[in-house]
Structure formats: structure tokens, C-alpha cells
């Protein structure tokens, strides 16, 4: 596998204009945080935006949460290094934006409406009437997101260091502080409205960068011809890493998209069912624009190197900075850097919220014998909100401290995040919510299998003890193994735990 985020220093790009663009971006976030602070009065506001979101906000915020800093820095670098192999990480997005709504929106919305579910582990717990399944899901989410948080904070530190020259450590703490401020103030409510603004910044930055990338090499045809003349594999259908890895990424990033809790969580936040009708189209349009940069900058930089306009890059991750220095006006660099920061912070905000919910809501529920949170009194509600904020603070500080570990170790933590979500949650969540034959034991065994295979496999690979041959990724193996265990154990049980979603049930956790 590859590290999915920036893990080495970015050269300083631009000057006062870049810094001014970044400061203006932070100022808008501060305004959104102040507005959201006044509107956040309950844990439902904090964790599911009061179930008040409309189509446009849902779609754009889901896009912003999906795309991390990898889209803007690591992605172009990967394309520069591996050619079209990198395409297979984003290619499934043409399908998955609709697939998520098709497969998960209805059962999750029903659970939110009828049983007051506010988290993805909570949905799994409600589906199987199983506090244990809820607890296992919460643990797997926490394991995966700690690494995600560390890698994102590290990437944010590099970006802020490149813009302001404050040093990596200060960059990490400043980035963490800004993200934390609006997350603690307004929780997911601040997050989703910040996401809309951040999504707009990402779209503008991406479209502008794509324009200059195509201009730099005589359009897509010119870039293709230049690359083909020098490197036959680069724009071959599978890139330089071959068909097994490319097609495996299509499988893992396609099927696995259903298990990304920061995206699925959005299905719990809708004002009503009708908001989902055009949600896939809104998300698709937004994501298509935001991915233009990913699809073009790596090819453009490769062509620049082939034409001798810039020297070969020392590291793949230098592709984006090299493009900003040689391929675009200085003023655009500020917008692109704001876009990178926006992509990182929107993802971090979502992870902080679902992590805090796992700690304050799902793990306690898992250890209760009844498995349910009783109806809440107002005092309990205030306490819940406070606990959510403290958990967010603790997670953010933990992630920032972890980001100070040696770069390779931090990158390792980030490597398995997506695959871990996929292997632990696809069977129990995506299959379980749509298949009445799923059993509680199948769900728990599949989560444990995904967790075990991913952690052991990626550790063996990281330690160079054993690597799978021919580009087979551990994330793919773990996903297949977890699916097999889920279906196999459920089949042996042959005693459905319950209908996928009991629509007649009323809210049981006091938030409905």
C-alpha cells in the first residue's frame, strides 16, 4: 500500500499572497464557528446537526469530507509516480456516490427516524440488537481514525509550514487548534457548514489547477502524447503498478466506500427522506469538479519533466509544489493551498465528531447490559454535550501528539485507515442493513476478522517481514476475508437476528 497523505516537507510556495489567502480562509471558518456555537444546544445538534440538513449541504459536505489532503497533494504525486494506477482510487467515485445513497440512505434514515440512532456503530447495534456489535464497530472506527487524524494533522502541519514558515511542530498545533476550535464549538453542525465553504474552495482550486495543467502541455492529447513517447506504462490502462493492484483498488475503494463512517454518517443527518432524491447528483457534480486537479496535475508534471522544463522530482509528493511553482500564477498558489487545508480540515472535523461519538455514546452503550441509552433529562443532555466536547478535545490532542512521531510511523498509521473501515464495516453495515439473513455473531466475527487481518497484514508489510505478491493489497484480502466470515457465520446461524430495520420501533435513546 501507499501512504495516502503528505508525509514530508513541502517547499515554501508563494509569499504574502499565499499567506493572505490562507488567513482569509481561516477568518471565514471563525465566522462559521461563532454562528454554529449559538445553534448547538444538544448532543443531537453536536453529532448529527440536529437532523436538519438539506440536499445541497448534505451533498457538498459529503464530498468535502470524502476528499482529504491526499486528493490535492498525495494524489498528484501518486499519479506522477505510478501513472494511471492512481486513477483507480478515484475511478469508483463515478459509481459510489449513488451506491451509498442507494444502499445505505434508506435503512440509516429509517434507523435515525424510528430509533434515534446518531452514529454508525449505533446503527449496527440497533440492527442486530447487539451492544457487543456496537462496541466492536466503535473500536474498529477508533483504531482506524487515530491513524487518520495523525496523518491529517501532519499533512496540515506541512501545509502551514510551507505557507507561513512556522516550522512543522507549530504548523501541526496551529492546524489542530483551528480545526478543534470550530469542531468543539459547533460539532458536526459547524463541520457541515464549514464543509460547504471548504468544498467551494476545493472546487475553485481544483478547476483552476486543472485549467493550467491542461494549458501547460497542449491539452489532454498533448500531455498523453508526451507521456507515451517516454513511458509506455504511465498511461497504460493500469499504470506502472499493474492490473492486480489497479483492479484491487477499484474493488476496495468501490465496495469499501460504503463503510467510511464519516460519509455514511451524513445519512443520519437529513431533515427528511426527500432530501436524498438529488443528493447523489449534487455530490457527483461537486466531486467531479474537485477531482479535476487529481486527474490532471500528475500528468502535467510528468510531461514537464519529460520536456526538460523542470528536473526529475526527488519525491513523488513534490509533484504538486513543483506544479505550483512552475505551472500556475503565484496568486493561484494561495487558493490551492487553502484548498488543501480545506480538504484536510473538513475530513478531520468529521473524524473528530465520529470519534467523539464512539467514545461518549457507543462504547458506554456497549458496556450497558440493556445496550440502550435511557430517555434523557435536560441535565443529562447538557452533560452529554459537554462530554462530546471533551472527547473531541482529547482526540485532537492525541492525534496531534501522534503526528509528532517519526514520519514513516505516522504514514503507516494512515495507510490502513481506509482498508480497515472497509473490512470491518462493509459486511456488518452495508450487507447487514439490507439482508435479513445476517446474524449478530456474523457481524462481530467479520469486524474482528477485518481488524485482525488488516492490522497483522499491514504490520508484516510495514516491517518488511512479508509482502503480498503481484500488488495484491492487504486491504483487499481483509475485505474478502471479512465478507466470507460474515456470510459463512450468518449462514451457519440461520436464525436472523431481526429484520434489517424495524420501522415500527420508537426511539430508544432519547434523541429521536
Amino acid at each position: 500500500m501507499i501512504a495516502f497523505l503528505q508525509s514530508a516537507a513541502i517547499p515554501r510556495v508563494g509569499g504574502a499572497a499565499t499567506a493572505a489567502a490562507m488567513l482569509a480562509y481561516f477568518a471565514v471558518l471563525a465566522v462559521i464557528a461563532a454562528w454554529a456555537l449559538r445553534r448547538t444546544r444538544s448532543s443531537a445538534d453536536f453529532f448529527v446537526a440536529g437532523r436538519s440538513l438539506r440536499t445541497l449541504v448534505l451533498g457538498v459536505s459529503a464530498m468535502a469530507a470524502t476528499l482529504s489532503g491526499f486528493t490535492f497533494v498525495g494524489g498528484p504525486g501518486l499519479f506522477y509516480g505510478a501513472g494511471a494506477t492512481a486513477l483507480f482510487i478515484v475511478l469508483p467515485a463515478a459509481i459510489t456516490n449513488t451506491m451509498g445513497a442507494w444502499v445505505l440512505a434508506k435503512p440509516l434514515h429509517d434507523l435515525a427516524r424510528t430509533r434515534g440512532v446518531i452514529t454508525i456503530p449505533g446503527a449496527i447495534g440497533a440492527r442486530y440488537d447487539s451492544p457487543a456489535a456496537q462496541g466492536w464497530a466503535a473500536v474498529s472506527i477508533l483504531v482506524a481514525l487515530v491513524g487518520y487524524l495523525a496523518t491529517n494533522f501532519l499533512a496540515l502541519g506541512y501545509v502551514l509550514d510551507a505557507v507561513f514558515g512556522v516550522g512543522l511542530s507549530a504548523g501541526i498545533w496551529i492546524g489542530m487548534g483551528v480545526t478543534l476550535a470550530y469542531t468543539v464549538a459547533g460539532g458536526i453542525l459547524a463541520g457541515v457548514y464549514a464543509d460547504v465553504f471548504q468544498g467551494a474552495v476545493m472546487a475553485v482550486a481544483s478547476a483552476a489547477a486543472c485549467w493550467f495543467a491542461l494549458e501547460s502541455g497542449g491539452g489532454l492529447s498533448g500531455l498523453s502524447q508526451t507521456s507515451m513517447a517516454s513511458d509506455a506504462d504511465f498511461l497504460g490502462p493500469w499504470g506502472s503498478r499493474g492490473p492486480m493492484l489497479a483492479l484491487s483498488w477499484f474493488f476496495v475503494f468501490g465496495v469499501g466506500s460504503l463503510a467510511q463512517p464519516h460519509i455514511s454518517h451524513k445519512y443520519l443527518m437529513a431533515r427528511d427522506w426527500r432530501q436524498f432524491k438529488w443528493y447523489p447528483l449534487v455530490m457527483t457534480v461537486a466531486m467531479t469538479v474537485a477531482l479535476l486537479l487529481y486527474l490532471t496535475v500528475g500528468i502535467a508534471v510528468k510531461a514537464m519533466v519529460i520536456r526538460g522544463e523542470i528536473p526529475p522530482l526527488a519525491r513523488n509528493d513534490d509533484a504538486m509544489p513543483a506544479f505550483l511553482m512552475h505551472g500556475v500564477p503565484v496568486a493561484l498558489a494561495g487558493i490551492v493551498f487553502a484548498g488543501v487545508a480545506a480538504a484536510i480540515m473538513s475530513t478531520v472535523n468529521s473524524f473528530l465528531s465520529i470519534g467523539a461519538a464512539a467514545i461518549t455514546h457507543d462504547l458506554p452503550a456497549a458496556f450497558r447490559t440493556a445496550g440502550r441509552i435511557p430517555a434523557t433529562a435536560p441535565a443529562d443532555e447538557a452533560s452529554r454535550l459537554a462530554r462530546g466536547r471533551w472527547a473531541t478535545l482529547a482526540l485532537a490532542i492525541g492525534g496531534a501528539l501522534l503526528a509528532h512521531a517519526p514520519g514513516a510511523q505516522v504514514a503507516f498509521l494512515g495507510v490502513f485507515g481506509y482498508g480497515l473501515f472497509a473490512s470491518t464495516l462493509v459486511p456488518a453495515l452495508a450487507l447487514g442493513l439490507n439482508w435479513s439473513g445476517a446474524s449478530e455473531r456474523g457481524a462481530i466475527v467479520s469486524i474482528a476478522t477485518g481488524l485482525g487481518v488488516t492490522l497483522v497484514g499491514e504490520s508484516l508489510s510495514y516491517a518488511d517481514v512479508y509482502r503480498l505478491p503481484a500488488g495484491v493489497p492487504w486491504s483487499g484480502v481483509a475485505l474478502v476475508a471479512a465478507i466470507a466470515m460474515f456470510v459463512g457465520v450468518s449462514w451457519f446461524d440461520r436464525r436472523p437476528s431481526s429484520a434489517p430495520v424495524k420501522r415500527e420501533q420508537v426511539s430508544t435513546d432519547g434523541l429521536g
Partner: protein, 133 residues
């Protein structure tokens, strides 16, 4: 739902199993046999469409039109990958381009990445029932 309990996830399970067989063969043999990428391609397409099949049952949109749409989706993905695997490499100086990209990559990119991009959201909206909640 009960009657469909075992049939419903079948497409998804078969697709995932195909991917698993390709992985197992590659790991055991130490290299990917020539048929392994084909299994991952077809298996990945089947698993993806299998999830749509599951979701269609939950949404209660099992019409003939939806069935045809999902069948077309499977054929599109599998065919795009299959053609790219079957065609001989021609990514050399002066090689053929389709809409700006080398032919094999264009088939994958425009087939898998562009055709479903706006078709699927429109099918979703067309089959959406406001009173479903």
C-alpha cells in the same frame, strides 16, 4: 424479504468470492496467474452491482427498468476492464488516442468513470419515492 434471504446477496458474494480466488491463487503461486486480473475485474464489477441489487430490494425498486440498468452497469464495467485487458498495448509515440487519452485507458476511464457518473444519479432520482419514509 424472507424469501429472498439467500438469493439477495448472491451476486455480491459471488463477485467477492471471485476476487478472493484470484488473491488466493496469486499468494499461493507467488505471482498473479494470467486469469487472476480477469477474475478481479469481473468479480469487482459483480460485487459492485450486487450491492445495488441488495439496495434495490431494500428501496423496493425492483422494476424491470432497474434490473436492466443494473445489468447494463455490470456489462459496462466488466466490458471496459475486459477490453483493456484483452487489447494489445499500443501506448507508444504516435499511438492512437480517444478523446485525448490512449485507447485502452480511454475505454476504462470513459467507460467506468464517465458513463455511470451522471446516469446513476438520474436513475436514482427517477426511482425515488417521496413517500417511502
Amino acid at each position: 424479504m424472507t424469501g429472498a434471504r439467500t438469493a439477495s446477496p448472491l451476486v455480491f458474494v459471488i463477485g467477492s468470492a471471485a476476487v478472493g480466488v484470484a488473491y488466493a491463487a496469486t499468494i499461493i503461486m507467488g505471482a498473479a496467474p494470467p486469469w487472476a486480473p480477469w477474475l478481479v475485474a469481473v468479480g469487482g464489477a459483480a460485487a459492485t452491482v450486487g450491492l445495488f441489487v441488495l439496495g434495490a430490494r431494500t428501496r423496493g425498486v425492483g422494476s424491470r427498468g432497474v434490473s436492466i440498468t443494473l445489468a447494463v452497469l455490470f456489462v459496462t464495467i466488466a466490458a471496459a476492464f475486459g477490453i483493456a485487458l484483452a487489447l494489445a498495448p499500443r501506448e507508444v509515440a504516435g499511438g492512437p488516442l480517444l478523446l485525448g487519452l490512449p485507447l485502452r485507458l480511454a475505454i476504462v476511464f470513459y467507460g467506468v468513470g464517465l458513463v455511470p457518473l451522471f446516469a446513476l444519479p438520474l436513475v436514482f432520482a427517477k426511482t425515488f419515492r417521496d413517500d417511502d419514509a
